[in-house]
Amino acid sequence: MEEATRVLFFGRLADIAGGRERALALSGPTDLAAIIATLGEGAPDLAAALAAPSVRVAVNRQIAPLRAGKAAPGDEIAFLPPVSGG
């Protein structure tokens, strides 16, 4: 069996997703767009929140520009809404 892919939600996205973390079972390298679509299935609020251009996506702690690229079993995907330090 393949290792799970960890999905992390930060800030307000954790509230909308109903939790900070989720595990996905991917069968192999999968486009981020397809993963985002899967996460939004049956959850229109989450789908809309993840679609916002201000939300950045990181795979294994590297920002994926324009959400291009794939994630594989064992990877960590993070959804990062606008940040606010200081």
Partner: protein, 148 residues
């Protein structure tokens, strides 16, 4: 040095940071405090992404070291629950001369407000509210672009 911490004592941090630095002629610092917004906010809750947050702040620090003639940088950022009146962030900069130290502190704070991966929500009378950077914060950061 960069640290994400559950507690912050700015005076003790600054004393340790500048101890023995006979090469520095200036220590400039900034402490950000949790403001209660006229009693509406009881506390802030700060979240971060361990590993990612530290490496993003390291990039900001590296840029400050390139731009300004400074000797050392200290950034300590709180996470967790922060009561009104308590410190959230400390930036300290050691330099031979004051201008570089003061400018570097302002630069680091402008970048931390918009670029450091922290997520902040207010809790209090008004319930829970996530805070995202405002136009003023983006303007302050943008003003550094094109400056050398």
């Amino acid at each position: 040095m960069i640290r994400v911490a559950q507690s912050l004592d700015p005076q003790a941090e600054l004393a340790a940071f500048s101890a023995g630095r006979t090469d520095a002629g200036a220590l400039a610092s900034f402490v950000g405090l949790c403001r209660d917004e006229g009693g509406k906010v009881a506390a802030l809750e700060l979240d971060h992404y361990p590993g990612f947050t530290e490496s993003e702040i390291a990039r900001i620090e590296a840029e400050a070291r390139e731009r300004f003639a400074i000797l050392d940088v200290l950034i300590v950022h709180r996470i967790g629950r922060i009561e009104a009146g308590a410190p959230i962030v400390l930036v300290g900069v050691l330099a031979a001369h004051r201008k570089a130290a003061l400018h570097a502190v302002e630069f680091l704070m402008d970048y931390l407000k918009t670029d450091a991966p922290f997520w902040k929500c207010e809790t209090g009378r008004g319930g829970k509210r996530w805070i995202e950077p405002g136009a003023d914060d983006h303007g302050a950061r943008a003003a550094w672009r094109g400056k050398s």
